[in-house]
């Protein structure tokens, strides 16, 4: 990749790594919370719903700052995690992944929740009368039928993670090679007089990655849809 400067190439790799981990890491929790919100009625539901959606409406800088307070080295959760498991988020790429996951989470949960709500609950009842316990009903009926929505949610989260800037830079700063993702790198270029060409290169690459992600998700969703309606 001779036409890319080394730190540009680094930013791209890092962005992909961060976005991938943010998506994969939050997917199980996303599916679980989406299912809770779609199928269960429980006290505190409104609170959980608001909490999940909060990053969507709050200024990203505020989210980043709250993450810094909680997961920083001296933050209550951050200190405990480092002490117990040696996991550090502050100023590391893992912190960038966490920030991206938190920012992408509402989008992911929303898409999955809609998909689960679209699954006919009577199909789940039918499975239950055939002897499937609630866990099996979820695994063999709800999950496969909501799969296109789950894919869509994951892609949304991935795309959001690729573009996340405010919370990431606030939480883990802008360290080349560690926390400098594509948006941070573009931002850095725009701050320097000779950075126009680099900013443009990264911009084009960000567009290409986004288009590719969309195409892949479309393909996956179509494959699922085709299997479902094989003989419709």
């Amino acid at each position: 990749m001779s036409w890319l400067a080394p730190d540009e190439w680094q930013a791209i790799q890092l962005s992909l790594k961060v976005a991938l981990w943010a998506t994969v890491g939050s997917l199980p929790a996303g599916v679980m919370i989406a299912w809770l919100l779609a199928r269960k009625r429980f006290p505190g539901m409104l609170l959980l719903n608001s909490l999940v959606h909060l990053p969507l409406v709050m200024p990203p800088v505020v989210t980043g700052y709250l993450l810094l307070l909680a997961f920083g080295r001296r933050g209550p959760i951050g200190a405990w995690l480092e002490e117990q498991f040696g996991i550090v988020f502050a100023f590391r790429w893992t912190g960038a992944a966490l920030a991206c996951a938190v920012m992408g989470f509402p989008l992911m949960v929303r898409a999955i929740r809609l998909a689960i709500e679209a699954v006919d609950p009577r199909l789940e009842q039918a499975a239950a009368t055939l002897g499937a316990s609630p866990a099996w009903v979820f695994l063999t009926v709800t999950l496969p039928l909501a799969l296109p929505g789950i894919i869509a949610g994951a892609v949304l989260c991935f795309a959001k993670a690729l573009g996340e800037f405010g919370a990431t830079i606030t939480f883990v700063s802008n360290i080349p090679g560690e926390t400098q993702t594509i948006p941070s790198a573009i931002y850095a270029y725009t701050q320097s007089p000779s950075g126009d060409a680099g900013a443009m290169r990264l911009t084009l690459i960000a567009i290409a990655i986004s288009l590719l992600a969309l195409a892949i998700s479309e393909m996956l969703a179509r494959r699922v849809g085709r299997a479902r309606a094989a003989s419709a």
Binding site: D120, R122, L123, Q125, A126, A127, A128, T129, L130, G131, A132, S133, P134, W136, V137, T140, V141, P144, L145, A227, R228, A229, A230, S231, A232
Partner: protein
């Protein structure tokens, strides 16, 4: 054996039903919204009553006083829904085996091959539910419930969403099920002919309460006063023995002490008891044995009672010679013109078409037709 006692609020009315049935072929009959499906929901565990007690066989499935509520997946009660509800992401074979997998440590009553043959769905195994016709879907749903090794099968208006031809396609399979597998069933319907054919005992529901309970011949031809809007729908159920098939005219002759009965189609095997359904509106009456009439079936009996009020029609209840009861709806004018009275000897003329039992006629056709590909496979 089913002991059922459940109460819960249900929209417009309060559902409060109790009955105890010892038969393997029970039907719940009533108009839409009378609480039939609610009763099935309570039996299957999908609907939780406010209070009550539900027992199937030896096992108590629900008891509000004792705090028992067995979850649906542990009840071993198969439910066939009105709209089949096959799992759209699985093919027919996977749908059929879905329930069997969860009950894999239970003794198998029927095997996949047998179920496929019984329901005529062997050729559909690789297909997806979306590509099936309504009747095929319903047969697969029945097979799926059957293969989950249920102790009781529930049918929730399984034919209601099908057109007449499709209904006639599925009904024979249900008729054969119980006979072949011995699994007891509860059949819910608002179609009087289905109930009369399938059930030994009928619970008639109205507004979430039991209105009548008994064999179909009794409860499906209710008293004039209590029948209300159901007056014109009254049917009689007569049991007769199949004597022979008249292949030339496509008729089946049945034997009854009150007279021979002829039915279109090739029905049942000679020597077997067959249930004939006669709509009360399709019965004509004569005080002497009629001659030179188109009616092929003339049954002899005695008038047991005549019910009449201001309406143009009167209800004549006839005790057939031998056994059985036949209800006729004739005009009040005819009753007076013929001077009919209780105790009189009477000849009931029953139109052959009134006895039309195309569903059963179809059973034999379907059986011979489906054997062909099976034999080649």
């Amino acid at each position: 054996m089913i002991r059922f006692d459940a109460e819960l609020p249900r929209g417009e009315f309060r559902f409060a039903l109790s009955f105890q049935a010892d038969t393997g072929a029970l039907a719940l009959f009533g108009p839409s919204g009378s609480g039939k499906s609610t009763a099935l929901g309570v039996l299957s565990g999908l609907v939780r009553p406010l209070k009550g007690r539900v027992q199937v066989g030896d096992e108590v499935l629900f008891d509000s006083a004792a705090g028992i509520n067995v979850p649906p997946h542990q009840r071993r009660i198969g439910l066939v829904f009105q709209d089949a509800l096959l799992l759209p992401h699985l093919d027919v074979r996977q749908n059929l085996l879905y329930g069997r997998w969860f009950g894999r440590n239970r003794a198998q009553v029927v095997e996949l091959d047998e179920v496929c043959e019984l329901l005529g769905i062997s050729h559909l195994l690789q297909r997806r539910p979306a590509g099936l016709s309504g009747g095929e879907r319903q047969r697969v749903a029945i097979g799926r419930a059957l293969l989950s090794r249920p102790r009781l099968l529930l049918f929730d208006e399984p034919l209601a969403s099908l057109d007449y031809a499709r209904r006639m396609e599925v009904l024979p399979y249900i008729l054969r099920l119980h006979e072949r597998t011995g699994i007891p069933f509860v059949y819910v319907s608002h179609a009087i002919d289905e109930v009369a054919r399938l059930a030994d005992q009928v619970v008639v529901l109205e507004q979430g309460r039991r209105k009548a309970f008994g064999p179909p011949g009794e409860v499906l031809a209710p008293d004039w006063a209590s029948a209300g809007e159901g007056r014109l729908a009254a049917v009689s159920v007569i049991e007769a023995v199949v004597r022979e098939h008249d292949l030339r005219y496509g008729l089946t002759m049945l034997e009854h002490p009150a007279g021979p009965i002829s039915v279109p189609g090739r029905i049942g095997e000679p020597g077997r008891v067959h249930r004939v359904i006669v709509r009360a509106l399709d019965v004509g009456l004569a005080v002497q044995r009629p001659r030179d009439v188109s009616f092929r079936t003339v049954l002899r009996g005695t008038i047991r009672a005549i019910d009449r009020d201001d309406s143009p029609l009167a209800r004549v209840e006839i005790a057939l010679l031998g056994s059985g009861r036949l209800v006729a709806l004739v005009t009040r004018h005819s009753v007076d013109a013929l001077a009919l009275d209780a105790g009189d000897e009477i000849f009931a003329m029953v139109k052959a078409v009134a006895l039309d039992d195309r569903a059963l006629a179809l059973t034999t056709h379907a059986r011979t037709a489906s054997r062909q590909p099976d034999g080649n496979a």
